[in-house]
Symmetry: C2
Subunit: 410 residues, 2 copies
């Protein structure tokens, strides 16, 4: 009898990532559809920024020299149509913030720094040549790489693209993801169920989690209840989808023919079993062109492993070059014990620089309450049996952002 692998959680993640080859297919989309998509080519700046040399202050623009008294010959407002004009030694112009600095002038002195200001002339102190002038192209020069291939498009990047008049962007095509689950005894949520029958939570939870991270998935339904039918069913999905995510039926029990059905369809698994609590019965592999994740049947473990293993992998598959979760640093709020022989994925609550494990790490993987009462995950390598109060931990938030507590300013 085959037994489950005992690889570590970090190895499992690395195996997924190593085998995740970004999509090759591109498309051009309009910018209002572009949020969260991944750039498939470098974007080159079409325009300089600033587009013209302009004043950073309300003040007076002049050619830097040793003159202290300057005659004010005209006023230039932001938005004024530029017309060249002659300006002589000892002359200056009144200029507003953002207004174009006339050709030949190089320095701006703000009004409040002048020693004297009348309608006709100003008296100025020493000032550095070039002060308060924003030079054309100093932020962005035409032809520069503006945004690199592999960047996920954020609202900030949309602002940048629009400022350049770039409205069509080359992105990787979206991943096609199928979500399905095992368990013919499970009821679909719209079905009526006896008090003791159990609903099929996983497909809906996985789909919502993918959606939260900008992916979309088709909920395909339940895997049939025989090996023969399952082999046929998997065959119809293979190569139709970039990714298949299943839940349940991946231990080596009697009715767990899902793995066998994948194998008969050419699956090469990267691992099948992780030495982690919770979520041991987890498998990942490749079947033709299709990346396969088999998550545990248990909703808590299925959720955690989809979050911690599948999401980074999907990021990489979708072409993003930033795919590792970035941790935040927190002080552990109270002692708790763990089994030193296993890795652990532990739920807890982050607030104000501190992190507290959910219920002293005493919760069942059959529960969902730990998930809705937590906002973050702590990934722990094996080897320790006690996590001490005051230890610095690295935390991955999964539902941070907003709270009821008033935000206090620095």
């Amino acid at each position: 009898m085959t037994v489950l692998d005992n690889i570590s959680y970090s190895e499992a993640l690395e195996l997924c990532l190593k085998n995740a080859k970004p999509k090759k297919t591109h498309q051009n989309i309009y910018i209002n559809e572009a949020l969260n998509r991944v750039l498939a080519e470098d974007i080159i700046a079409k325009r300089n920024s600033p587009v013209f040399t302009n004043s950073a202050m309300d003040g007076f623009a002049f050619k830097h020299s040793s003159d202290k008294k300057l005659k004010v010959i005209k006023t230039i407002y932001a938005g004024d149509k530029y017309e060249d004009f002659e300006i002589k030694e000892g002359e200056c112009v009144r200029i507003m913030t953002g207004a174009r600095v006339p050709n030949g002038l190089d320095t701006v002195i703000p009004i409040e720094k002048c020693e004297e200001v009348t309608d006709e002339y100003i008296m100025i102190p020493e000032i550095k040549k070039g002060a308060n002038v924003r030079i054309k192209g100093e932020e962005i020069a035409k032809g520069d790489v503006l945004i690199k291939k592999g960047e996920r498009i954020t609202p900030e990047i949309i602002a940048m693209l629009v400022s350049q008049g770039i409205v069509n962007v080359p992105v990787y095509t979206k991943l096609k993801i199928a979500v399905l689950s095992t368990g013919n005894e499970l009821k679909e949520p719209w079905e009526s169920a006896d008090e003791e029958e159990i609903y099929n939570v996983n497909s809906y939870a996985i789909e919502a989690l993918l959606k939260k991270f900008g992916f979309s998935a088709d909920i395909i339904g339940l895997i049939p209840d025989s090996l023969e039918k399952t082999v046929e069913y998997i065959k119809t999905l293979k190569n139709e989808y970039d990714v298949i995510i299943t839940s349940g039926g991946i231990s080596f029990g009697d009715a767990d023919f899902l793995f066998e059905a994948f194998k008969q369809n050419g699956l090469k698994e990267f691992f099948h079993g992780i030495m982690v609590k919770p979520g041991r019965p987890t498998m990942a592999g490749i079947m033709g062109e299709t990346f396969v994740f088999a998550m545990p049947g248990n909703p808590l473990s299925s959720y955690i492993n989809t979050f911690a293993l599948a999401i980074p992998t999907l990021k990489k598959l979708s072409g993003a070059d930033k795919y590792y979760f970035q941790s935040i640093t927190a002080v552990n709020k109270s002692d708790f014990k763990v089994n030193a022989k296993k890795d652990h994925t532990i739920l807890g609550y982050y607030e104000n620089g501190e992190w507290e494990v959910y219920n002293g790490y005493k919760y069942g993987s059959g529960m969902l309450t730990p998930l809705i009462k937590s906002n973050s995950l702590m990934l722990l390598n094996k080897g320790k049996d006690l996590i001490k109060k005051g230890e610095i931990l690295k935390i991955i938030p999964f539902d941070a952002g907003f709270g009821k507590n008033k935000f206090t300013f620095n």
Copy 2:
């Protein structure tokens, strides 16, 4: 001449929040549309969890007594259809994890803790009554409040709702938000522009930022170039939208008739001007039933104030009871100077528990590069002129999540 207010940034935020009255209108939606919507009523548990009393381990179930030797009379698997049967003193059943514990039995001993195990009987040590048994309803009891009104629906909450067979949920109706901007000199991004003409960045950036936080908005276009036309235009939007967000034209310059047009439509402003750098010319108020934000024309300030002031307010307007940004704690990486007379909204980069201000806080509010090179915002009250290396700061991430650096486990 009217001058801008000088209220603090935190006051501005509190004024917005105090005046943001959550929507009163509800609707029922299907769960696959429910992600990020806000619950308009408490959700009551329809089912117990666990749905029946079951075993937490593979082992033997028995009625707690002083017997040390127990006869094994049958085996119960998870998913077995339950049938009542008689069990006598000194008898036990073999039971699998998740299988229903027969009526009358109360304790489970895991196989590995038995002193002796044969096919017919087991020898057991002392064990606490109730051990390894999950009691029906111990996690969730039918009739409990499962999720409170005002909660935003996360993937975790979707898992919980599905586990209860709840597929229709009462949510607040979506906010109707109009985004418009001033500046007839601006080019729309799809228009061709001379090298020196400037694109209308704000509407697109604001719309993308709202979308990122789960809102949707209509980009309405440009505000007309006369007071009379603007008054009429604003009148058509008033009460049609829950929220109007404009950008630009809200200082007290010659062409800034936007404020006047709002006033003629009945605007009561909460503030008009904040003593903050950048983003001073900012206004918020109420006009009939419509909440109005007027953001600065400057893309950087407009983005920051939409993020830090409008997003929490929109959260509250949409019915959410968690609407304050939650900060993360970080150590400041290098000294930088600020003007002690103003509040500041400062861009920087958070990584591994440390935060570094963007370019020593030397950047212009006409730039967009600081925004795409940063991932977080630091809100600072006035009063300090130096932020020292090593200080503990509270940071609001706006683009945290994923990075190129490998995630290292605890």
